[in-house]
Amino acid sequence: MLKFDKLVFGDLGWGDELLIATLMTLTVSVLSMGLGLCLAIITVWAKLITNRITRLIANFYTTVVRGVPELLVIYLIFFGGNAVVMGIAKIFGYNKYIELNALTIGTIAIAFISATYSSEVIRAAYLAVNKGQVEAAKALGLSKFQIFMRVMGPQIIRHALPGIGNVWQITLKDTSLISVTGLVEIMRQSRIASNVEHSPLTFLITAACLYLFLTTFSGKLFKALELNYSKGYQ
């Protein structure tokens, strides 16, 4: 029933495969979190400038993606993404068949999901910074760029960090869903291993432990970062 001896490294066990799969999960999470943060900043910008059309588009995007199951978003991008990319390529006069690999598609899909959550966090953090500080900085003659880098930026990060930590945990757990696209990360690898060894319990428990390790460890990392960014307030 439980075959934990199959977890050794080398040809006899699945240890090394699972390690590589864990690294793959981490890679996808970090990439999609980064891409998601970029998307989130664009979304926040679109929501905060006084343009009704951009605000409408940004609100539509966050409402729809947050109201639809993550699995559907992944299916839609996985099965429908190729057509979109090929359509865009056609505009530029490229007519050959393009196939995106599972890593790219998975990263984009998770980034789209994680961006909706991060955008709310960043928006709240932006609004939490006192307006008087910007005015004070202006009075001191700081340029717009300087105001952002020295006054707004650090405070936005401080306010946003706890929320971003939560989004990171959600993103990390959502990467398990892209196993349906065939990308070999923890979930997929443990399913393969359990099919070969006829012992699902062993490998699924291992997968759960790996995820638990990743979430706990990264949670500690975020706690340390939070402490670092709130130095001035202790």
């Binding site: 109201g67 199951p69 979930m187």
Partner: protein, 237 residues
């Protein structure tokens, strides 16, 4: 009218829509069973989490930690594939339930929502101020009365918005049960895609239905908030 329907039937999205709706009852069935059980258990677990008994509170804390630290997909697979491979369970009465993907889904969803929900309720219970409890004690309430008349009503009212969030997450989480061959909306959408080779139409049809379900859920939570926070209503006079 007949003409209009025939015209609309030309569109794949429209036809898909009605095929996906056939899975709505399966999605709702998952929610109708797991959400009420989850609610009651969350409340009990939250009370256990704040209890002075170290053993109970530590055990529940460990449970919450493991469930919140692992993806729901792992939990569903563990229950569906993992428990099924244990000989002891296959021979016991549990097998009548666990061989069905539906009950595996219900079990996984309930376990999941209890972990998140009890953490939410704990926040609510701990936000009840000391003065409110003391005033209850001064009126001669015993512990049960205190719980029923003061702590739980105040806590529930406070956590309604965040518990509403959790409810929406649960609506979304039901789609994962489709990966255990259970045919709810996402599963049907995937079947349609395999049949028609038109992924966008199939998944958009399902997505609209999920959006609608979540919209209803938001309205329901808003109504509850309105009903149980009469002191926050803006009077019209």
């Amino acid at each position: 009218m007949q003409n209009l329907i025939e015209q609309l039937n030309e569109y794949l999205l429209f036809r898909n829509f009605f095929e996906v709706i056939a899975g709505l009852d399966n999605t709702l069935l998952l929610l109708i069973i797991s959400l009420p059980i989850g609610f009651v258990l969350s409340l009990l677990f939250a009370l256990g989490r704040v209890s002075k008994n170290k053993f109970i509170s530590k055990t529940i804390a460990f449970y919450i930690f493991t469930i919140r630290g692992t993806p729901l997909l792992v939990q569903i697979y563990l229950i569906y594939f993992g428990l099924g491979s244990v000989k002891f369970i296959r021979e016991s009465f549990l097998w009548y339930l666990l061989k069905e993907p539906f009950w595996c889904g219900v079990l996984a969803l309930t376990l999941n929502t209890v972990a998140y929900g009890s953490e939410i309720f704990r926040g609510g219970i701990q936000s009840v101020t000391k003065g409110q409890i003391e005033s209850g004690l001064s009126l001669g309430f015993n512990r049960l009365m205190l719980l029923r008349k003061i702590i739980i009503p105040i806590a529930l009212r406070k956590v309604l918005p965040s518990y509403g969030n959790e409810l929406i997450l649960m609506v979304k989480a039901t789609s994962l049960v489709s990966l255990t061959t259970y045919m709810e909306m996402t599963g049907i959408a995937r079947k349609i895609m395999a049949k028609t080779f038109a992924p966008v139409e199939a998944f958009v049809a399902a997505g609209i239905l999920y959006l609608f379900l979540n919209f209803l859920m938001v309205q329901f939570v808003k109504y509850l908030e309105w009903k149980y926070n009469p002191h926050l209503r803006i009077s019209k006079t």
